[in-house]
């Protein structure tokens, strides 16, 4: 078979980093070529070079053996190259259909043909096994639904080369199954697919070939059959990781947090306890109310009824500030949108929640600020030139470390982590697991939300399962497995019912 795409000796320098060092990959028709590597390995940069969003320093790109130069994404789209980026590029105020046809609207001479666009958009969405009202604006959809719209946008009309950067990160396992069905259909249509994911299981399920990047260099490329998961991990991190999930060895202490009959708009009558030294997992499908529960505890969303006790004392928390003062920290999901100040330095991002401890009279003490920020920066091994570096230039994993550092510095006794490892590479994931265990050993109470079930089962001592805003079960680490959790997570509804529920939740 001929090469549909060939990228040869691609070089790309960023200030201070060699992002791509003579990387060459090729893609055949009807093939899924997986690209793996840690954060900052160069995968996303390579995709941006392909699309023309980033200009390469040197190297060549061939499509059907013809040399091409793309200076902007619109030029690559002409060759039917579509890229689904990790961070969404949807317009929140436009409808699903309008987004899908953005830039190539169907028109009757002068006027938009909305009817036709709505019909075609709905067709594409249902191909993906989703049911989304295409006349709803994007800001009323859940993250998973937005991802589906993003995919629909890429495959509507003609596509020859499709690159997906972490497409499954916000999806549930059922939605992932649907996505893989679509990928298989696209393969039959001879579309070449570049697939980037941190979830190695997926790569073995859907991939034909795999290429591993590490620090901007190509370290391995072969048929997927020729490698196994452990080899891949070793190639990605350049070392072997002992055991997948380190266990928490801390002894369970006194009750540190008790939630009684807590309700809000999105959660219903939630009661549970958290103990010192315990890692408590919260499982559930997208829209089950996991993030809403921890946001309510943290004072970020309004509580309609219920009580919260810390160390047996009732507390009233009306704002995140009051939660922090009561010793609660919340590492939010979506660090870019809800956690970081992109225009600020690492130092300012870490110290923002603890400035009151760094005052010298009226002024912030540079010395106190620098020393405590530097301590966290070193301990968490943030990869950056210095604490004055802007967080905007950091990779996902290092950004997460910056937010983690902020919450560690607050010295809170109750730490809540919402999807702490989403979009983060294996090496840093491991560091985060160890960090969680160390915190537990210090006698802190930990709550972890994760959509990656093996991870959640692996690190939690106990797991609460939620469905439609309620707790449907509690399992111990030993008693938990994927099936039990999924059963409890879908307790109230058949899979079809879940869908209508999700749409309702989103609107």
């Amino acid at each position: 078979m001929n090469n549909l795409l060939e990228m040869r000796d691609i070089m790309k320098h960023y200030p201070g980093v060699l992002a791509l060092d003579k990387v060459s990959i090729d893609l055949k028709m009807g093939e899924v070529h997986c690209l793996v590597g840690e954060n900052g390995a160069g995968k996303s940069t390579l995709m941006k070079v392909l699309s023309g969003a980033v200009t390469k320093d040197s190297g060549e790109i061939f499509i059907n053996d013809e040399k091409v130069e793309f200076n902007s994404p619109s030029e690559s789209q002409v060759m039917w190259i579509k890229i689904i980026y990790q961070d969404f590029k949807l317009v929140p105020e436009l409808t699903t259909a309008e987004n899908i046809f953005l830039g190539r609207e169907i028109r009757n001479s002068f006027f938009l043909n909305k009817k036709e666009m709505n019909i075609k958009a709905a067709e594409t969405i249902s191909q993906l096994g989703e049911e989304i009202d295409v006349t709803l604006t994007i800001n009323r959809l859940s993250t998973a639904e937005r991802q589906m719209v993003e995919i629909a946008k890429a495959i509507v009309g003609n596509v020859k080369i499709l690159a997906m950067d972490e497409p499954t990160a916000p999806l549930t396992s059922k939605e992932i199954k649907n996505l893989f069905e679509v990928i298989r259909k696209l393969k039959e249509k001879e579309v070449g697919i570049i697939y980037i994911s941190h979830r190695l299981e997926e790569i073995f399920e859907i991939g034909d070939r795999v290429t591993v990047l590490r620090d901007g260099k190509l370290v391995h490329s072969s048929e997927i059959k020729e490698v196994d998961k452990n080899q891949l991990i070793k190639l990605m991190v350049g070392r072997e990781l002992a055991g997948e999930y380190p266990r928490n060895k801390a002894e369970k202490g006194d009750e540190i947090l008790k939630v009684e009959n807590l309700s809000s708009d999105k959660i219903n009558d939630i009661s549970f306890s958290l103990y010192k030294g315990e890692v408590l997992g919260i499982a559930g499908l997208v829209g089950a109310g996991r993030s809403e529960l921890v946001r309510a505890i943290f004072g970020a969303d309004k509580i309609t009824s219920g009580k919260i006790f810390i160390n047996d004392k009732e507390v009233r928390i009306n704002s995140p500030k009051e939660a922090i003062d009561s010793g609660i920290a919340l590492l939010t999901e979506d660090r870019n949108l809800l956690g970081l100040f992109m225009n600020m330095s690492i130092r300012e991002n870490i110290s923002v929640s603890i400035l009151s401890k760094m005052m010298n009279g009226l002024f912030i003490s540079k010395q106190k600020e620098n020393s405590s920020v530097q301590k966290q920066f070193d301990q968490l091994k943030v990869k950056a030139p210095s604490i004055e570096t802007s967080v905007e230039s950091l990779s996902g994993g290092n950004r997460q470390k910056v937010v983690l550092a902020r919450w560690l510095e607050t010295n809170s006794n109750i730490l809540i982590f919402d999807e702490p490892t989403a979009g983060i590479d294996v090496g840093i994931k491991f560091e985060i697991y160890n960090l969680i265990n160390n915190l537990a050993e210090e006698g802190k109470g930990i709550i972890v939300i994760s959509s990656e079930l093996p991870e959640l089962i692996g690190i939690s001592d106990r797991i609460i399962i939620m469905c439609e805003g309620r707790i449907t079960g509690v399992l111990s680490h030993e008693g938990a497995n994927k099936e039990k959790i999924l059963n409890l997570a879908t307790k109230f509804s058949s899979p079809e019912g879940m869908h209508s529920q999700k749409v309702k939740h989103a609107s």
Binding site: L338, V352, I364
Partner: protein, 319 residues
Amino acid sequence: MPANIGRRKFVEVVSEFSIGIALIAEIILFSQFSQYFFTAENLLNISLQASITAIIAAGMTFVILTAGIDLSVGSLVAFAGIIATTVIKINVPVYLSLSLGILAGLLFGVFSGFIAGIFVTKFKITPFIVTLALMTIWRGASFVYTEGRPVWELPEAFSYLGGGRIIGVPVPTVIMMIVFITSHIVLTKTRFGRYVYAVGGNLEAARLAGIKTNKILISVYIISGVLSALAGILLASRINSGQPNAGLMYELDVIAAVVVGGTSLFGGRGTIIGTFLGAMLIAVLRNGLNLLNVGSYVQQVIVGLVILLAVLLDQIRKK
């Protein structure tokens, strides 16, 4: 340690540096054409002319850093001036009436800023609309209250504020310097200043990081209100009357100074030094063009072009 200068800091330093260069270039250019231009007297004169807008621009910088805008500043100048002059005319010993008048004017600035802040935070109305409404309300109120007639016959002592000198330097210039130095310290060295940048950079992240974002937002509108009122009192003193049409269209000059100074209208980026240089750049331009006998209509065109050029250069440099 130049390697330790972060990207944001670096961008800002470059931004201030390049406006500074433009300012110096401007001064050298005008010095070539007019002998009088580069004299101490004229430079002090420029600073006096710039002082009123510059003081308001310092307050506006706080607001714009939070991604807000305050359109009410010009009308505030008028109404604060009228309130102050009205109170000054009451029949009590002159120093008491002066203090009360100034206090009343400033308190009005606090009040207006507080109202703006409450509408922006509690009722979630965009700052543009809230302050547009306040702009119309205070302008209208100025005319209603004075029936369109200026407040005249003020005590001699009041004119010292706008017309007096301290060791040769005009009092408004001195006040402007105090305002800028204080604002700079507040923005760079205090917790409040850091929170202003955080709120402007990412409002929801700021709230979740434990910042009382509403308090910060209300505060910046109060700062803008108070500094506008202060400018209004200085202006009333200079023209020795409270005029209902004082400060007309000032909001545009002020926003221009802030934006030319490199502060982003999207919030989170900008400095008070930049605003100072921006205000001076425009004031020097106006003064130089006056000395060269350029007509005021042509001046408007030139000032507009310079604003466009300045923001264009800023944009190109950021890429």
